[in-house]
Symmetry: D2
Subunit: 353 residues, 4 copies
C-alpha cells in the first residue's frame, strides 16, 4: 500500500509498504479523511522523537473499518469510525490506574507515527479496537471528525488538567488549534473570564467565537503585566499552556493566585529544564499546582466529545481554514502545516466524500 | 421598621419591628430589590419549617450597606452588595470541613426567614459580613442581582453535585427557576445532551434557551420510559432533581447508568422516607451515587457567579417574567408566587432604581 | 473435570464438566486454594441471583496458570497468580469511565459463579488475563492469597467509598470478614476513632486487633443511641455498611453528620426499597452522601493490596479460623459457611501446598 | 511582658514588650509548652523571611486561655487549648476557596513570628479564636500537644498533597521531624512500601517505628539509583519532599512513574528557580503532578489530628528527644535547634506542668 512517510529526519515523501496485519483484538481501517498536525512537522523536520525510517506519518483521521479480529464484537467492516491519536492498551496497569495514555510506559499510548505507522496510508492498523474505536455519528462531516483525534481531546484535556470551575478567571497561553479548543473547553466548563494570549489576528478572532473574553497580544507588552492589569492585580485562578516555550511556566506562576492550577498540554520539545521561579511559586508552599499530560483516548471519550458536536455545543469546523480533496493531497496539507501561512489554522484532507 | 412577615402558619402580612442591631462582624443593609421564592410560600402557607411568629419573610435580595461593624474592612456604608440566601459562620468547623451551609448544625447556614428575620424588611442584618457580602458589579441590574441569592447558586450547585463532565447525557427533573438555572449550569459545565422533564410550555421554551436539547413532558408518558427511549435504552450519566416529589428518586434510579450520580436540590417537604428501589440501585452495589445539598453561599461564590453574568456567559433575566416596583409591591409578588399563573417563572420587586 | 456446583436452587453437589476453553486473551488456571463466601450460600440456598443449573460455585481463590491465549504476554504456564472475584473487560466503556466492575452492564464484571462457572473446579477460566491476573508474591500463604479475591478488596473499597480522612470518626455496621477488612482499611486510611457495631464476641476481638477503638453491641441498646452517646451527640463523620439489612440506612442517617458519607458494600438481597429517612437526611439538603458499590478487581489492584500484606501492613490470616486441606474438602467448607458456627470467621481450603 | 525574640538578622535574645490586645474575635493565651522549629533558626540566623526587629519568635505551642473577645463563644479563660502555626482568617475568599493558609495573600495565614509576634512570649495573641483554637484533650502531654502546631500538620499535609492510596510505593526525601511525621502519615494512609531517604542513623531508626519499610542512605550512592534498584526499575507511585534542596525535584522526577504525584512541604529557601528536568517530566506530558503547600490549620484540623493521638494511632513523643523545663529554657532550646546535635530530633520546653 501507499503512504506518506518520514523517510528520515528532514525528509518526507511517498513510500510503498505492506498492508498491516490484523490480530485478534485489532481492526484495519481505510481513512476517509486525515489532518496533519504540528507534531508531524516536529517529528519529521526537527527530529522531535528521534530518528525513524520510512515511518508513515499522521495521527489525526477518521475511517471505515475493512477488517476486524476475532475478539472484536462492536465493529464490523463497513462501519464508519472515529479514532483518537492515542490508542492505549486498556488492560494495562497504567490504564487501570486512570492513566491509559501511558499504557506500556511513559507516553506509550501514543502509537501512530511514533511506535508504529501513522494514518497517512491507504490502510491503518488500530490496536484494541473495542477500546479505541467509536461509531461515527450519522451525518458527521469527515473533516470535523478528524478534529476528534487530537485537537479537541487535547484542548479539552487542558481544561480538565486546569480544573476549571464556575466563574474562574483563566489565562490561556497559545491559541493555535489546540489552544482554541482549550478556549472552547474552558468556556464549556463554566469559566467566567477567559484571557487568551497570542499575537495572531485570526487566532484572536476565532478565540472570541469560542468564548474568549479578553485578548492579550504578547507583542504589545509582557503578557504577565497585561494580565495583572486586566485583573486589578488579583491574578488568575487557572492557567492553560497550549503553546510557546518553557519560559511560560515562569510567566504563569507570576499571574497565578495561590491555590491556582496550571494545565499544560504543550509538548516541551527542547531544553534541559523547565524552570519554576522560586519566589512566585511561594517557596514551594503556595499550592500553585502544576499538571501536564497527554490527552486521553478511547471509545467512551470519543463518544462523549462527539456528542458535544452532534448536539451543537461546539463547532470545530471554525478552525478548518483549508479543506483539500483526495489522498494525494496529503503532501500539500503537510506542506501547508510546515509553512503555516497567516490564514491557516487547521487543514484537512477529505479522502472520500 | 416595616416588614412583610409570616404572622403565623397560614397568615402573612405587614408588621412593624425594631431595626436590627449591628455586631462587630455584621452589616446592616437596605434592600434595593427582592424576590419571593417558592420556599417563602412553603414556609408561611404550608408550615414547611414549623411555626414562626412575626418573622419577616424573604431570602433573595440585593442591597446597599448602611452600617458595618468594627471588624468589617472590605465594605462601607453606601456600597451596593450581593448577598446569598445562605450566610454561614465561616470560622465554624462545618465551614472548615467544606460544608459552610451546615455551619452550626444541619442546614443552619440558612438564617434569613428561618433562624432570624428575612429580607422583606426596610433593613436587613447580615452576619459575618466579610465572608457573606460581595460588591455588586458596576451596572448590574438589581433584579438580576437577586437571582444570585438563591436561584443561580442553587441551580449551579445541582450541576456540581451531579458532577457534570464533558459530553455527559443528563436528565433534569423539574424546571422551575432552580431547574432552569440547573439547566444553564449543566450546559455551562459541558454536558452533551440535556433532557429536561416537566410539563409547562413556558418552562420548556426557556430551558431550550438555556441549553436543553431534549424535552420530556411527563404528562404524555412515564418520564423514565421516554428517557430510555431517547437514549436507546442506555440511560443517562447523571440526574438532577430540582422539583417534583420523593418518587422521582425511583424514576432517577431507573434511568441512571451504573457509576452515575444524582444531584438533588429539591427540598423534600413531606413523607417519612425517600425510597430507593433496590433492584434498580443494583442491590446497593451499582455505584449509583446520591448527593443532595443546600447551596453554598459566601463572598467568593457570589463573585464567581456574578462574573458569569458580567461576561455574558449566562443571562438570568430570561427567567424574570414579572417585574414590580416599590417596597409595598412585595405583597403582590408573594401572592403571584403563591398563585403561580402560567406565565410566571420568577417575579422581582425593584425597591429603588 | 470435577467441580462443586449449584445443581439448582437449594441443592449443591459435585458434578463433571468439560474443561473450559482458552481464547486469545484468556488463561486457564488450576486452583491452589479456594475459599467459600457467604454469597455462595446466598446463591445456592436462597436463590440470590436467580436459578442456575450445574453452575460451579466459588469466586475466591489463587491458582497456577496452566494455559494462556496468544495475546497474553505477562503470564505463562507454571506462574502462580492472584485473581479477584471481579474480572472486568478492561476495554469496555464502563471500565474507561472508572467503573470496571460494571463492564458490560450493571454488576456484570462479576462473572465467577454468576455469568459463568466459578472457581470450585479443577480448572478455572479467566477472561482478559493481562488485566485480571497478578503474580503471587514469593512465599505468600495460599490461604492468605484467597483473601485478596474478595474479602480484602471489598472491605477496602468500603473505606474508599466512605472517603475516610485523617482523624475521622467512623461507624462500621457489621463485622463479618468483609466488615473486619473494612475496619482494617479504615484504620489504614487514618481514621481517628473506629466504632464497630455487631454482636459477636469473636468479631469484636478481631476487630480490635484490626484497629477498632469502640465496640457497640446492638443487642444491648439501639446502635444509634449508643453511637450518639459515645460521640457526645456529635455523631460520626463517615459510616460503613458491611452487613445487616436495609434498615441500617436509616440508622446510619441518624448518626451521620451533615457532609458525611455512607459507604455500602453490603449486598442488599431482599425488599423492594431502601428507605432513607427524610428528616435525618436533612430533607435531601444535608450533604449526607450515599455510595454503594461492587469491589474493583484487576491486576494493579491485586498488586497494591498484596503489597500491604508483603510489607506487613495487614495480616488477613487473623480472619482464617478454619483451614481445610484437599480439593474434596470444598464441600465441608461450604457447609461450614452455611452453618456459621460461633468460632467461624472465614474458612479456606488448601488444595495444594 | 517578656519574650525571646529576633532582634535583627543574626541576633536573638530576650526583650520586653507590651502584652497583646484582644479584639472581639481574638483570644490571649499563656503558653504551657513551646517548641522551636528549624524555621525559627532560618528566620533569625539566615534572614529567611527578611529583616525583622524585636519580633518574638516561635510558632509551636499549646496554652491556656487568659482572655477572649466578645464574639468568642466556644472558649473561655482557663481552657487549655491547641493552636496551629497557621492561623487563617476563615471568612477570607482564600479560605472559602479551600486555601485558608493563603488567607489575605500568598502564605499570609502564617502570622506567628512572621506578620506578628510569635509564641515565645508570656502572652500570645490568636486571631479568629473560634476558628483557630481547639480544646486540648484531657490528659494530653503538653510536649506532645506542641507537635500539633506544625510537625504533625505539615507532615500529614505532605501525605495529602502526594495523595497516598492503598498499596502505593512512596519515596520520602528528608526525615527530620516533618519527614518523620510524613512517614507516619503515609503509613496511616495505607501506603504499601515506604522508602525513606536521609543519612542519619537516629532518623532511620525512628522512621522504621513510624512505618518506613526501606532505608536509602544518600551518602552510599545516588538516591535515584538506589530507589530504581529497590523497585525493580519500576519507580515509585508518589514522592514526598520534606527536606533537602531544589535538586531533589529532579531526583524525584527520575523515580516517579507517569501519573505519579509529588508532595512538597519543604520551604525552598534559596535559588532563583526550581528546575524540572524536561525529559524525565515526559516533555510536560507525563501526568507527573507537582504539589507544594503550606499546612492547613484551624480548629477542625487540630481536633482531627489530636484524635489520632488520643486513640493511639500515632505517638509523636517518639520524636521528642529533648525535654527542657521552664520559660527561660526557650533560649537553650533554640540553641539546640541551631546546633542540631546528632542525638536531636525535636526539643520541647515545658513551661508549666
Amino acid at each position: 500500500m501507499k503512504g506518506y512517510a518520514m523517510k528520515r529526519i528532514g525528509e518526507a515523501g511517498w513510500i510503498e509498504k505492506d498492508r498491516p496485519k490484523c490480530g485478534p483484538n485489532d481492526a484495519i481501517l481505510r481513512p476517509l479523511a486525515v489532518a496533519p498536525c504540528t507534531s508531524d512537522i516536529h517529528t519529521v523536520y526537527e527530529g522531535g522523537i528521534g530518528e525513524r525510517h520510512d515511518m508513515i506519518l499522521g495521527h489525526e483521521f477518521c475511517g471505515e473499518v475493512v477488517e476486524v479480529g476475532s475478539e472484536v464484537k462492536s465493529f464490523k467492516p463497513g462501519d464508519k469510525v472515529l479514532v483518537a491519536a492515542i490508542t492505549p492498551e486498556w488492560n494495562s496497569r497504567e490504564a487501570q490506574a486512570g492513566y491509559s495514555m501511558h499504557s506500556g510506559g511513559m507516553l506509550a499510548g501514543w502509537k501512530f507515527s511514533n511506535i508504529k505507522d501513522g494514518v497517512f496510508g491507504e490502510f491503518v492498523h488500530v490496536n484494541d479496537a473495542e477500546g479505541n474505536l467509536a461509531h461515527m455519528p450519522e451525518g458527521m462531516d469527515y473533516g470535523v471528525a478528524c478534529m476528534l483525534s487530537d485537537m479537541m481531546p487535547t484542548g479539552f484535556h487542558a481544561a480538565e488538567l486546569a480544573d476549571i470551575q464556575f466563574g474562574d478567571v483563566v489565562a490561556i497561553f497559545g491559541i493555535g488549534p489546540v489552544g482554541l479548543m482549550a478556549t472552547a473547553a474552558t468556556n464549556l466548563k463554566g469559566a467566567g473570564r477567559i484571557i487568551v494570549v497570542d499575537s495572531r489576528e485570526l487566532a484572536f478572532k476565532v478565540a472570541k467565537e469560542y468564548g474568549a473574553t479578553d485578548i492579550v497580544d504578547f507583542k504589545v507588552a509582557p503578557s504577565d503585566e497585561q494580565i495583572m492589569k486586566l485583573t486589578n492585580n488579583e491574578g488568575v485562578d487557572k492557567v492553560i499552556i497550549a503553546g510557546g516555550d518553557q519560559s511560560l511556566f515562569a510567566t504563569a506562576m507570576k499571574v497565578l493566585k495561590p491555590g491556582g492550577k496550571i494545565g499544560n498540554v504543550n509538548y516541551l520539545g527542547t531544553g534541559e529544564f523547565i524552570k519554576i521561579p522560586r519566589v512566585e511559586w511561594g517557596t514551594g508552599m503556595a499550592h500553585k499546582q502544576i499538571f501536564g499530560g497527554l490527552m486521553p483516548g478511547g471509545r467512551l471519550r470519543l463518544e462523549k466529545l462527539a456528542r458535544l458536536i452532534t448536539y451543537g455545543k461546539i463547532d470545530p469546523s471554525k478552525m478548518i481554514t483549508h479543506r483539500l480533496e483526495g489522498f494525494d493531497k496529503i503532501e500539500e496539507a503537510v506542506r501547508l502545516m510546515k509553512e503555516k501561512p497567516a490564514n491557516l489554522i487547521k487543514p484537512v484532507v477529505i479522502i472520500e466524500k
